[in-house]
Amino acid sequence: MDHLHFAVTWGQDTAHDLVVQALMTLFNTLGATPGSIDRIAICGNPIQLSLFQGIPIDDLAYAGDKKKEKYHIADQDRSAAVRDAGEIAGMGAFEGCELRVPPAVKHEVGADALALLVKSGMLDSPEISIATDYGTNAEMALKVDDIIYTGSAAAGPALEGQEVACGTLAKPRVVSDIDFEDGAFRSTVLSDDMDECTGALFNPINGEIYEEGTIAATGITGTGVIALIKEGMETELVKLPHIKTRHKALLLHDDLYFDEHDLVEAGRAIGAIRAGHVTLCDAAGIDVKDIETAYMSGAAGTYMDAAKAHMVGLVPYAVRDVYQIGNTSLALARDVLLSEDRLWELEDVARSVRGSHVMFATSPAFKKAYINELSYWEEGMPFERMQTMLKRRGLPMVAAPTTDPKVHRIVVKDIPDLGTEGLRVLERTGTLLTMKIEECTLCGLCEEVCTHDAIELHEDGTVVIRSDLCDGSHCQKCIHACHEELLCWECLEVVER
Amino acid sequence: MVKRFTTMAYDDPDEMTFGVAKEPVKAGLGLTIGDGFTTPEINYAPRPETASSKEKLVKEYKSITTDIMDRMVAVGFPGVVLETEHVQEMTNNPEWGAAVAHAQKEIMERYHDEYGINCALRHTPGDIREDRDYLRLREDKYDTLLKSFELLAENGVDMLSVESMGGKEVFDHAILRDDVPGVLFSIGCLGAMDMEYIWKDIVKIAKDHNVVPAGDTDCAQANTAMFVAGGLLDKNLAHTLAIIARTISASRTLVAWECGATGPNKDCGYEGTILKSIGGRPIAQEGKTSTCAHSDVMGNLVMQCCDLWSNESVEYHGEFGGTSVQAWGETLAYDCTLMNVALKTGTEKTLRDLFMLSDKYRDPQGYVLAYPNAWKVGKAIVEDGDDLYLRAKNAALETCNILEEGVNEGLKLTRFETKALRDAKIALEGLPDDQDTFVSESLDKYKKEVRVFEPKRNYDL
């Protein structure tokens, strides 16, 4: 669930408690007692870091200066810091334990983006390169000479599989890739260990299955969506903004599908990222074709087929090399934990980047580029027309990819080294949200539409939502499914624990 | 008594197929129409010179009838309908038509007795209710027309039909001016009123003589619109407007059934699929097999839900393979065989869809008449089934909507067609919400514009 929205709706203290409790659970699971821990390093976006530390987030919740002024919302200091963990509310027992916090670049661009810059190695390379974290906020950084231009495209969660009817975050038993094979589509499905397994061979026009897959799938990840769009466009089943099948949808196996509405959602996200790249190039005074190297990070950036991402426009069209570098945030936290020097280096980097940060929301270049993208994805404006428009607007040109870049898959999984003990994921780190619906007809639609099994409907009309599973305000499928419009976001209350 | 349709016979368009109607009709010698079979309906016209006397006409029709029955038996077809569309003389002199009917039926009975072939005879007297430039719908000529029906029913005709032409005087004026409200007024209001006037009497005659009051079709208007519209390259009338005239005519032609006619209606207005979706009664249709009479942009599509499969009309003359009625009749019967095989093997929905898809995107007219869309028009009609004006307007507006959506579904329109469609929709949306206002406004307008329009005399308006 979106942290910011949760904290604003149900209180920052509640959100803070959840973060701290999750950490406590982690320590307990590992058998670590407060006294035995000398040092903690954290990484994350500014919201996450603030929620943990108890720094007010009002300045992050509202981007507009007028509102900030009116309500006397001060911008918080989010520089690199070394603190005593015992100062954190609820962590008194950790007095004497050192807490290392990496800096944020600006408002919406935090340590994740720094991690991207530092861990990609782009800082040390003379090439014109761009790094992009393919997540909800799509942080991106362009390096030209020694200047680094950053931005965040608010691509929306479509690339992580949300806002798409059958979409889901990457998890076991979901479709993560699609390939054209023998006149049909072949899917790749993630196993319980997140390994890629051969899925079904099917006809996307009518959903006919030619060959069953080894694992049944329950959803499509963002990477699967990219692959569907790429293969759809190449087979001309997708002709923007339409899907030219009789159902106006690509039909997969296991009742999964991808329809025109999904296409628009995904297109907006892809368009936001390409518009972001154009905007950074504009700020740097270069052309998109000048970018030689692209780094892809984040879970989506790791599992995505880079060649397909390149074909649909998620990677600058003329790059020679693409590096898929995995979850850089975790790696950065590890660096900071081991070296305090690293932390202050990061602060220097953050400071040097601040001056050349581009706020896309208020950037005229981004606005023009993004409106072009909207028209391309939603109205079917021909690509050539989009190029003409960019030219008229004096913006850097994009083009269709002509050559395939060399793809370097540095990591296979977003957390490359799981250590000897392997990976276990903490369950139930969140809380429960609930409301009692007096006139509930118990139709059960809210449960049925939830792709995350986050919601339970009890026989007395009580709805219980698990915040750790729920996709929150981006999804709201359950809210929309309620016929009587009785289920309501604002009426949900946090269960006291 | 007139009983308006306010509900659909079919809840789901997918239920509709050829050869099966909700209310099959028994007719003639052993034939049941719409009961799991399609049957050819052969139409013909005598050579012009034979119309000079009753004797010549009778002789001509005897040859026609014998030729057809002979060929049906020779190739082994189980059933056939013969339709005689009168030349004027046969209706103007009711006893001429009666003599022809009598002679035809005698021959058919002989074949039925000898070979067991099921057959029925339909006669369609000409709508003779005019006097030079003027319609005379309710005067002497009307009595002659009724007399013709009566004598036909007495002389062996199994099914009575007519192609009534109420509203034609205003329609001819409106269609040449792309005046869609005028088309709506002429077909949807005037045509329907005249239908009610004439069909009450035809149904009574049929009942009195225990024959089938079959149905009408909007030959004078819908078929005219199609004819003026022509092929793809013709630009006299946008095909988007032609189809609006045709769907409006469904609202009009339905009136025969509402007056007690039982089907099968007639073919040349192409409104049958819409009628069937509403009334569930059998329909006759024509398409590729009527190319002897006119070219067609939906030759296969119209077979989708037909019960009788017709050739519109062919002049009687020799061909290499026999006479024209034999050649066209055999073609019709083979088409029916194919459909009947599909019905027997449970593949009728597939064949129906193949027929439909082969022409769905050929022309806007075919697109709207494709059965899922035709059904939608039907639904729009019954929504205001009690109000002749509103239901015709609904049909027209629904047609506009179907076409507008069609453009997203793969239907391609020219700018000429698109513009005409847009203008039509704007005109329709600007029309009043009630019949009285619309009729009185239209009366004022067309009394001024159409010299030959005499509302009092022809429609009691």
Binding site: Y62, G64, K70, H247, D259, A361, L374, S473 | L357, T414
Partner: protein, 265 residues
């Protein structure tokens, strides 16, 4: 369940007709360029046409130059707004509706027209009478204004006078402007989930001051359920609905009617 719905969307078999038939009439129609399509629609008057043309291609300087010439030739600036600028913009919105041109074209033309309107107003001696005023703003605290920018352009393209309050617009400022301008409708957009609650405050203040009017809310964060709970709220899912809503209001629609027409469920 959703898949079933999709399948039901079209039960019948369907095909791509291109391989089995040719609509020669469509094929013969030569591809018409946007400029050719526009050519048939411009006003005939030799003074008005170049201005309308400049609006169509989004040439701001051309618009002002054309107006200058026409005004010095004795034409009334206010009449030029209607005949030349809005006339040119009508061509744009018509061809946009027909998908001959696209949103970025409309944005360029809308800017050019706006420049022209401002120029004409500066030269005019009396006030103009637009077909209606709409106030647009981005929610307090939110700076994401692309949605609003599109809405403003489309409304202007359809001849409405738009008071654009910009982004991060305080609640009080919105209410003040409504009180002053008495517009046909008010629009608010928000992308950040945290900012849309400003709409509720606006709604309450409007109610307090008896300023009933349709308040169209949209944008990434906003959903119909939220908007339906506002007394004046109408949910706008897509920007092109804005001019259609304004037209409905002009022909008498109130909040209830608008919801009936534009809400999804």
């Amino acid at each position: 369940m959703a898949l079933k719905k999709i399948k039901e969307r079209s039960m019948a078999l369907d095909i791509d007709p291109d391989d089995i038939l040719v609509r020669y009439n469509v094929r013969l129609e030569k591809e018409i360029t946007p400029e050719e399509a526009a050519e048939e629609l411009y006003p005939d008057d030799p003074h008005l046409k170049p201005i309308a043309q400049a609006v169509f291609v989004g040439d701001e300087e051309g618009v002002v130059a054309g107006l200058e010439k026409a005004i010095s030739g004795g034409m009334d600036p206010l009449k030029l707004i209607d005949d030349a600028l809005i006339g040119g913009m009508n061509v744009v919105s018509k061809l946009y509706d027909e998908a001959v041109i696209y949103l970025p074209d409309v944005m360029l033309s809308s800017d050019a027209m706006q420049k022209g309107i401002e120029y004409c107003k500066s030269k005019a001696t009396s006030d103009m009478k637009p077909k209606g005023t709409v106030i647009c703003h981005v929610a307090e605290g939110d700076v994401h204004d692309i949605g609003k920018t599109i809405v403003v352009a489309l409304l202007r393209a359809n001849g409405y006078n738009v008071v654009d309050l910009g982004r991060d617009c305080p609640v009080e400022e919105v209410v003040e402007h409504v009180e002053k301008e008495r517009p046909l409708m008010l629009t608010g957009t928000a992308l950040m989930t945290t900012t849309m609650y400003a709409f509720k405050h606006i709604n309450d203040k409007l109610k307090e001051k008896n300023l009933a009017l349709p308040f169209v809310c949209g944008g990434g964060a906003v959903n119909q359920d939220f908007v339906s709970k506002l007394e004046f709220g109408v949910y706008g899912e897509e920007a092109p609905q804005a001019p259609r809503m304004a037209a409905s209001i002009l022909s008498g629609a109130n909040v209830g009617k608008l919801r009936e027409e534009f809400h999804k469920h």
